[in-house]
Symmetry: D2
Subunit: 258 residues, 4 copies
């Protein structure tokens, strides 16, 4: 059968990235305690295509994925990228994984456990023989209590859920759990899945004792990310689902550290 893909390109331009997207499958992710947890990921994989070739071979991406060990970690994704480069005959390959990550968290007063999920994304890229580069993104919901509303009102203050979206490029170690911790220390309070009445009292009082604007949250998170020994670049975007409005407030800081 004719191999149309291997024919010449009519328009001889190099394609930066070509491949498949929105493949959903069950995968494993390291749980930060030496074990691995089950999750479901949406996968994208691509390669660079030289100007001389008409098309890539889309089915080989799926073959490589089928033979991969299925763990969303830097080491395992690095092996996937190496295999993609070899199998597709490409100089550069990339892959990204979007998945929920789960943490069983104890309530602050009762100590009862509830599971909470965080949207994550790991992107790996391998260009020639240089070391693979990784980008880790984690979205962490927190609670914010408005300092202005608290200062000017005779009683109360509006509060809301806010989403701390972090993207980091790193040397080695930082992992999902560390980013969650950084974000959860940056708002008025972490959020929880299971709160008994004594916990709800604790969270309410704790959050009201620590009111934060969206500006405070983004600065608190950026300050902690700047101090992290292994982060080379980061971007934090905080989005607060204002309970007094039907729109959102946001604040964003991006820094190259080293």
């Amino acid at each position: 059968m004719e191999d149309v893909q291997s024919g010449p390109a009519q328009v001889p331009l190099t394609i930066d990235n070509v491949g498949v997207r929105h493949l959903r499958m069950p995968l494993l992710v390291p749980d930060g305690a030496g074990g691995r947890q089950q999750t479901v990921a949406s996968v994208e994989m691509g390669v660079e295509l030289p100007s001389s070739l008409k098309g890539t071979h889309m089915s080989r991406f799926v073959e490589v994925l089928e033979q991969w060990d299925g763990e969303i970690s830097c080491g395992s994704v690095a092996r996937l990228l190496e295999t993609l480069r070899a199998r597709l005959g490409a100089r550069r390959a990339s892959a990204d994984f979007r998945f929920p990550y789960f943490v069983r968290k104890a309530a602050p007063s009762s100590g009862m456990n509830g599971i909470i999920s965080y949207d994550c994304r790991l992107t790996g890229e391998q260009d020639g023989d240089s070391a693979p580069r990784f980008l880790l993104e984690v979205d962490v919901p927190v609670m914010t209590v408005c300092p202005c509303s608290k200062a000017i009102s005779d009683e109360g203050a509006h509060s809301q859920r806010a989403l701390v979206r972090m993207a980091v490029r790193m040397d080695g170690l930082p992992w999902i759990g560390e980013l969650i911790e950084i974000a959860e220390q940056s708002g008025s309070s972490p959020v929880h899945t299971l709160l008994k009445r004594e916990d709800e009292k604790y969270v309410t009082e704790h959050a009201f004792a620590c009111p934060t604007f969206v500006e405070d949250v983004v600065r608190n998170a950026a300050f902690r990310l700047e101090k992290h020994a292994h982060i080379r670049w980061f971007k934090v975007d905080v989005e607060s689902q204002e309970s007094i409005h039907n729109h959102d407030a946001f604040a964003c800081i991006e820094r190259t550290l080293r």
Copy 2:
């Protein structure tokens, strides 16, 4: 050219509804004050197809829509349904429109204006020669302050944005503005687009003086809908984006009135 659609169906089953969906276009909607406002709608139109025919004629739906006067109102949609039935040779036709509706609202203390949008949907159905039936859906964001959190905490109470989703079948008159008013009176406070500091103080204090569970909001809205002279059936679903959790609380009441 062969008219494949008019051939016989291999499987002679009546199709309840067949047509086109996700057509997006600029339309007009009555503003409740005698005028009309511009909006953009996603449109679905369908007809019943007898068991004897292989297919409907999809292009005719678009032709009918192109010739329609383009106003999302019961009278105008009734004319669209009549034309669809005639043009497609169908006993039953239906159409629905999803669109944002805009209200310019004054802040409670400063009186300054801001525009706020509400997601709406109007569905019309015409079966034979009986009167057309309409379903109106309106989603209204409100603010809720938690009564439990307020009662048990030394200071503060968690608050959040909640969405009051109403669906009503009516005799004649109730329209979007009335449903918005019903929902906005049912939570701890309406939300606003423009709030100066004096308004934020007003909204915070007003909301804290009127704490509501998601259960209170759904009951308050249902109580008002039950009393409305022209509503024959309704369903209210309130979804509260709990600021202390990463999940939502909800409550739902459905009633047939007459």
Copy 3:
């Protein structure tokens, strides 16, 4: 601490359903071959609330979920509903689970395997001491080739991905795999994740030999669902992402069988 929820309701209306929504967690689902597969689900749980009580106890839903065995199956969900009714003191409880279901499928010619995912939803409801009722929903992508385009064109015919959305109420047995099979036999061809060149030839030729309108697909699926011994009610909605349009065609059949 005050139990605000147990106080009297200001507006004494029964609430049909109140609870929590959008809880995401890893769960298991029977794989149809005696085993179980890992997935991730978004969970909703609710109970009826009598007119006399101000509020339900939201944290108990999460406690019940934490102690549940975590399998999305009729038997296991029935036990969850029984526990919810007991723990919340409610006459009626309901729960629903939205999750991807995975099938490893062999390509038609090469026999090579690829994993494919289907969006599913299982809803269970228990009202008093009657048997629990279940609703199963499965969305199955298929390929359709247009019979009209094929008949009138000198060459080719437009094809596209279509989504067959089935909802069934059943006595006992039918499960996800059976519904997938019904849908995949109803279009021009099933879709696959991994297709080598010989498979792509097979799928293309097979699909072009079996052109189907959206009307054909919905009738083919309805015909098979009607013949199924254990289905009491069904609704099929087929949505075809027309490759010649920027909108979709749809067809829908709903039937009560017994």
Copy 4:
């Protein structure tokens, strides 16, 4: 009343961008023929905040928007940015608008008209006294027929809807209509809203005479964008909703031209 926002920041970091997001409102957009069309946009506006200030003044963004002339064009957005900088006392301001753009398009054979919509986004940024910079993004659906499937199959070839997503930075003139034209010439065929039978025959035959991989589409579009006199940078991402798969193929080219 206390002006909490004007107090000192606890963590003295400059915030790159802070403001409001997801404000939805009716706006106007130039139609390319000297007139303006009605649309609905989701608006984001932000400013840089110096390290010395605790917070920005969120309500002023809404005030500025309320007083703005409401036209999504480079000239009008430049005036909005200037006003934002003055009103918020900021060195840098940005604003972006996401909106559907409508074109009434004639069918290729019958000449009958149908309206089609394209998702667009215009982002403007003004930093100090330098000229404002704009980014225009337009998403254009097209049809693709697979060259490989056509070459290897005895009959037919799979086709599908593909989305050509273009982002461009420009000197002056290129506008939405030009980008739509570039994308629609790059696939196997444009898509249409209204096609009579003679038009469907035309589109099918025309598309089959011009089969394109996702790689061809992205190269065709990139080639045309490179030749455009006023484009300084572009990124094209083509996503093809493969009718034989449940996942998508994609290809991406990004270039800095001058």
